[in-house]
């Protein structure tokens, strides 16, 4: 009876859409199975949790800087004049049932989302998965990473607590520092000098809850369609696995429960974090005012590399005839991330320029097989991570007692020296691993030959 029902559903749909042959193919779409292929899925499922929790938050959040007096249940702030934005974020945290769980889960999901994208990108880079015919998939992915950074920044800026205001002040200064158009651009975005007109909050809000999520959602769709149309890459292995044939589990029934299990695991981790591990306790920071700041302020982890860059760049403005031309925040806050993004976007074509490899590749490479790529990737990663670590120099001082000034000079040297050292060291390690493997293979071959010889001899002896 149930089979019969299913049959009639399938038939009804097929007669109206003609989707059966496609569905049949899609059900048996082959997924090569390897743990590192799941990183992109972790990002995807974090995005799902972000959208779901985000929709819930929009039902309570009031993106307005109009002033109101706080009368919620958090006593230390009682009677304080705050903005509606901060007031409603406090209300979500203290007076909406399950509100804090959802708010914290949303925040954790954002942190995990960006982390998953970054680790996914690292995997894609070091295995050469971006090579022809998958460059567009890669470019779409890199664009999503940078959109996700902006989306996260807007998200925690909306709350209007002390930290979000400090972050916005820095964002305003970076916008202001862009050569030639900076002042005009910042005044356009903020509607006037910092902290901006009330409309600025409407602009941030619609960008955070509609414009960027729709763009990211569209790019995710494009990313997945491109992946499916060219099929997944895979590591080399036993036949029939080859450049021409992909081997793995079919989407249904084999792969579907695995992927669903991953979704439920991601959701479990995010809700456990959201419930049990406090994140961004905005009531402790208090409301933002232009004249207030706090020591030890840190952004969400994914902006750590930018605060590190802003701190690391030496005091250096381009000044012509008593006029500042390029203010300092431009170097660390705008140029540095733009260079990293441009380098990531250009990489597949840059590499091709040097290797002359225009062929289609479906098999992944192991990092050791491409010593230069692996070395360059490791060096750039080291560079960015060093700058990221320096973003927490004030916390390192509290932890280890190394003075900020000393750290500054150590890191200013390290960001040049260490990537170079890593470059050559990584290359040497790759070449060594290759040589070891070659050696093992030869030994293996020699043994086999010796065995074969012994066998023929024995056979000859018998006859």
């Amino acid at each position: 009876m149930r089979r019969g029902l299913l049959r009639s559903v399938v038939r009804t749909l097929d007669e109206r859409t003609g989707a059966a042959p496609f569905t049949r193919k899609a059900l048996r779409y082959v997924f090569p199975d390897q743990w590192s292929f799941l990183l992109g899925e972790v990002a995807l499922y974090s995005f799902v949790v972000l959208v779901a929790t985000g929709i819930y938050l929009t039902l309570f959040f009031d993106p307005s800087t109009a002033k109101t007096v706080y009368h919620g249940s958090y006593a230390p702030l009682a009677g304080q004049e705050v903005t509606d934005a901060y007031n409603s974020a406090l209300r979500i945290s203290f007076d909406v049932k399950a509100g804090l769980l959802i708010r914290q889960t949303h925040h954790w999901a954002a942190d995990v989302f960006v982390a998953a994208i970054v680790i996914h990108l690292v995997r894609i880079f070091f295995t050469g998965a971006y090579r022809k015919p998958r460059e567009i998939t890669y470019v779409v992915g890199v664009l999503m990473l940078f959109l996700a950074l902006l989306e996260g920044y807007l998200g925690y800026s909306l709350v209007d607590d002390l930290l979000s205001g400090m972050g916005l002040a820095i964002g305003y200064s970076v916008a202001l520092s862009i050569p030639f158009i900076g002042a005009n651009l910042a005044l356009l975005i903020w509607g006037g000098p910092f902290p901006g007109e009330p409309e600025f909050w409407s602009r941030m809000y619609i960008t955070h809850v509609l414009i960027l999520p729709v763009i990211i959602g569209t790019l995710i769709t494009l990313h997945l369609v491109l992946v499916a149309s060219r099929h997944h890459t895979q590591f080399a292995g036993k036949p029939p696995r080859s450049e021409r044939k992909v081997v793995g589990l079919p989407a249904f029934p084999g792969y579907a429960p695995r992927s669903l299990a991953l979704f439920f695991s991601v959701a479990a981790a995010l809700f456990l974090l959201g419930g049990l591990v406090q994140i961004n306790p905005i009531w402790l920071w208090g409301p933002y005012h232009v004249g207030q700041g706090t020591n030890g302020a840190q952004p969400d982890w994914y902006l750590g590399w930018l605060i590190g860059a802003l701190r690391l760049v030496p005091s250096f403005d381009v000044v012509i005839a008593d006029r500042t031309v390029v203010p300092n925040p431009f170097w660390g806050g705008a140029l540095f991330p733009l260079i990293v993004m441009a380098a990531l976007l250009a990489w597949p074509w840059v590499e091709r320029r040097f290797t002359g490899d225009y062929a289609v590749h479906n098999l992944l490479e192991r990092p050791r097989e491409r010593p230069w790529r692996t070395a360059i990737g490791a060096a750039v990663l080291t560079w960015v991570i060093l700058i990221f670590i320096f973003g927490a120099a004030d916390r390192i001082y509290v932890l280890l007692g190394v003075s900020y000034q000393l750290q500054l000079w150590i890191f200013r040297v390290l960001v040049f020296v260490l990537p170079l050292a890593v470059l050559f060291l990584t290359r040497a390690i790759c070449l060594n691993l290759q040589r070891l493997e070659e050696h093992d293979r030869e030994e293996h071959r020699a043994e086999e030959e010796a065995e074969a010889a012994a066998r023929t001899e024995a056979l000859a002896g018998k006859t």
């Binding site: 002042a183 602009r203 081997v247 695991s265």
Partner: protein, 339 residues
């Protein structure tokens, strides 16, 4: 009641009738014996029980969530997160076992789509090019049409983008130089109480705002400190800006706009550095005794100083506007004062 009973009976009859009809219809559609697509594999009773138990566990955890939510128990954020997280985790565990033990495990091979070789266009590509080129054969004045199209496109594009200028005063950057400080304006604290010169003690640091002004304007907040007048070495022309050694500077960092919220006051003048204002965002450090000079960190301009005067009642007032533009720098900003 009788009417309801009659309706129910009628509904039951119709449902039964339809079900029988559907059954007969489906019976005719019964499939012939077909070759298997998904391979037959052995069942695993223990795994089935494990999956069922895990799903029952998830049910219990989800019900716990509902109870905690409805009863609004104490520490509810933690308990809500725990119960919901556990429910998700148990379903995940059930799915992991299902994917390994309840679902046929296959290793299938599928062809990658045919790669397009460089230089040898496939038929489809050729046809795309052909369609494009053949479609243009009725047009003879290509440059004219192309130029007109480009002009229309550019003009319409500009027309559509132009309203973005309403977003803000993009062309009028003079507002970036404006501050609420004027000669004679009183310094007040965050509750609008005027500061007296005698309020300002050495070794401490005060935030001041313009009386009756918006404290959240970037040009409003000041840091006020008292130093030994003999230790001051202000730039020329500022000799009378610090009556009794009381100094006022903009509280907004010239590097990235954060509040310069830290004051470093040496406790042992011989061993420690001079007093300094420090911004907690990127640790730009300014020397209050020397007119706000940058002595450490990434800031490129001095902290703007506000000239002070003490009125006959002993109150602190501004004696003019700042020594230079307030807030973070931008293209073309004057590095020194507007005066």
């Amino acid at each position: 009641m009788r009417a309801l009973g009659r309706i129910l009976r009628a509904v039951a009859f119709v449902v039964l009738f339809l079900a029988r009809g559907l059954g007969a219809f489906l019976g005719r559609l019964r499939p012939r014996k077909r070759e298997r697509i998904v391979p037959e594999q052995e069942s695993d009773a223990r795994a089935e029980w494990a999956v069922a138990l895990l799903l029952f566990g998830a049910t219990a955890a989800a019900v716990m969530f509902l109870l905690i939510y409805i009863l609004d128990l104490g520490h509810s954020t933690q308990l809500l997160g725990l119960s919901l997280g556990v429910a998700f985790a148990l379903i995940a565990a059930a799915l992991v076992i299902a994917s390994r033990r309840l679902v046929p495990i296959e290793s299938n091979a599928e062809e990658y789509s045919e790669p397009v070789k460089r230089g040898e266009h496939r038929e489809g590509e050729e046809q795309v090019l052909q369609i494009v080129s053949e479609s243009g054969n009725r047009v003879t004045r290509r440059k004219l049409i192309g130029g007109a199209g480009a002009a229309a496109g550019a003009a319409l594009g500009a027309a559509l983008i132009a309203p973005a200028a309403s977003l803000g005063p993009a062309l009028d950057t003079a507002s970036l130089y404006e501050t609420p400080w004027r000669r004679g304006r009183r310094l007040v604290d965050d509750r609008e109480r005027p500061y007296l010169a005698s309020d300002i003690e050495a070794g401490s640091f005060y935030t001041a705002y313009p009386e009756g002004g918006d404290p959240d304007e970037i040009g409003s907040p000041l840091i006020v400190v008292r130093l030994d007048p003999a230790s001051l070495h202000l730039p020329a022309g500022r000799e009378d800006w610090a009556p009794e050694g009381i100094l006022a500077y903009s509280k907004v960092c010239t590097h990235a706009g954060c509040a310069v919220a830290l004051y470093r006051k040496p406790l042992f003048p011989e061993a420690e550095q001079r007093p300094a204002f420090v911004c907690p965002c990127h640790y730009s450090t300014f020397d209050p005794a020397a007119g706000g000079d940058v002595i450490f960190g990434p800031a490129g301009r001095n902290l703007p100083q506000l000239p002070l005067q003490i009125d006959p009642q002993g109150g602190l007032r501004a004696a003019g506007d700042f020594s230079g533009p307030v807030g973070p720098s931008f293209w073309g900003v004057r590095t020194r004062g507007p005066s």
